[in-house]
């Protein structure tokens, strides 16, 4: 346990120091991300205003708050893309990870976790500019702020597990990109990334309740913007942990079968 904690600490510091060298690149990436929520924000604000108030319980100012917090949650949610597995397997690069003492999963997770500190740092000026430009309605309680600071991390772990599990498919075929795109599109619609789910038809909302996606996007955002009461927030934490359990166990099982299929040539 202590060894694992120390490993995570070291790997996270390593990642942060490494990524710090490319802070301009990271900042450009973050700015690139901004266009997506700005589009959603403009569209839905305009509709809310033209419909005389609120859509799905969201006023124009609430939509604004939603999509500004969205930008941080998006950066926190960045995880190892399944396409990396294509590369690791096709080029035989996985071999070098396998001879190291720590499991590749822990290496990857700790690496991404470490970079989050840079993202949070870079996000602060972005958030200030967005707030001054779009004027959101945001007045969280202490409990909501603390919960948000926690659940963006657990949401990240859930999404990281989903994408990692998808990456395992490349052990069977290296042409899985079509499948990845379908899952990413499902995530877009069912996570609250495109719009808060309350804007969607009710059958979509009930479908989303059975899937892990909304706990990585909508739930952290709504924790901060005051759409959830304290009970809902605690329930969400429970759901995130439950999904970490389900996905984590599935990954462990799939990994055991998948890794047996891996053979590398050369280097």
């Amino acid at each position: 346990m202590i060894r694992t904690t120390r490993f995570y600490g070291a790997q996270m510091r390593h990642a942060l120091v490494g990524e710090m060298q490319y802070r301009t690149a990271a900042f450009l990436l973050l700015v690139g991300f901004l266009f997506e929520p700005i589009v959603y924000l403009v569209v839905w604000r305009s509709i809310a205003e033209s419909q005389g108030g609120a859509i799905g319980g969201y006023t124009a100012a609430a939509f604004t708050a939603y999509y500004i917090v969205w930008t941080l949650v998006r950066a926190m949610n960045l995880a190892l893309t399944p396409y990396v597995w294509d590369w690791r397997i096709q080029r035989g690069r996985l071999s070098e990870f396998l001879v190291l003492p720590a499991h590749p999963f822990h290496r990857d997770l700790a690496w991404f976790a470490g970079t989050k500190f840079l993202w949070i740092l870079l996000w602060i000026p972005v958030a200030i500019v967005l707030t001054l430009t779009f004027r959101p309605e945001l007045s969280p309680t202490m409990f909501q702020v603390v919960s948000f600071a926690l659940v963006i991390w657990s949401g990240f772990v859930v999404r990281f597990l989903i994408l990692y599990l998808m990456g395992m498919i490349t052990f069977w075929t290296t042409r899985a990109s079509a499948l990845f795109e379908i899952v990413i599109a499902a995530e877009l619609l069912l996570s609250g990334r495109l719009v808060p789910l309350s804007v969607m038809p009710s059958w979509v909302q009930s479908l989303a309740a059975w899937l892990p996606f909304k706990w990585t996007f909508q739930y952290p955002i709504e924790t901060l913007i005051g759409r959830l009461d304290n009970g809902d927030i605690l329930f969400g934490m429970f759901m995130q942990l439950a999904w970490v359990g389900i996905l984590g166990v599935s990954l462990a099982l799939v990994w055991r079968i998948a890794i047996k299929r891996y053979t590398a040539v050369g280097i």
Binding site: Y22, L28, G32, V39, V42, V43, A178, I182, A185, L194
Partner: protein, 261 residues
Amino acid sequence: MRAIALTWAHFKIGAMNELQYRSNFFIQLVHSGVALATGLVAIVLVFSHTEALEGWSRPELLAVMGIHIGLGGFIRTWIQPNMQRILEDVREGNFDYVLAKPVDAQLMVSIRQFKIWHSVDFVIGAAVLGYALSQLGNSIGLSDALAFALVVSVGGIMIYCAYFIVITMSFRVISLEDVMDLFNGVYETGRWPVTIYPTWLRGMLTFIIPLAFAVTIPAETLSARAGWRIVAVALAFGALLLLITRLVWVTNLRKYAGASA
């Protein structure tokens, strides 16, 4: 004349190369289908809550989306692969060989790659546009069609210019891959008419990355919102942009120092 022959030769090589990987066509088909579906869901969702978005009706927005998808296919078939190749060549030092060829270098670097499977989006975009026009119901005269064809071609050229200017900077700043990501992010904003955006963003999408000219204005010519005056402005701005692109290329090329042996 020689330029056309050269482009055609490169196109044939690119096509033959891609034709070896036929299953990629089906993978591309799924990718495009998924993108189309999510785009349509967004439009259905918007119009389940409202009758018009800032004065744009559903078929009008569909027309914008069709043009956006088609132009995206054009970018990924032709512009992006070539720009990517320039970045790689500059970094790896192969760019010198391009300059040594007895053809205009700007032409040469602009026609080397064609990813033909991406033109699936071109077909899908045309289909969406066709459906949108049938829903619009207003008759499109010859002059509207002509105006549309003019504006959309000029728009495509402007997008090429915008990409090319940025890539030309790669002679001085190598790590521009992130700029490409940024470009893709910006391109997504063109899915909606630029008139819905706040002024600062609209200005940017008109003059820096000219999506207004490439997507919104063509759609406006079809729904008879734009007159010939806008077509003239687009033509003039397109010509200006081509000139600027050439200037930036020539001045930057002078500063290029080969990195290879």
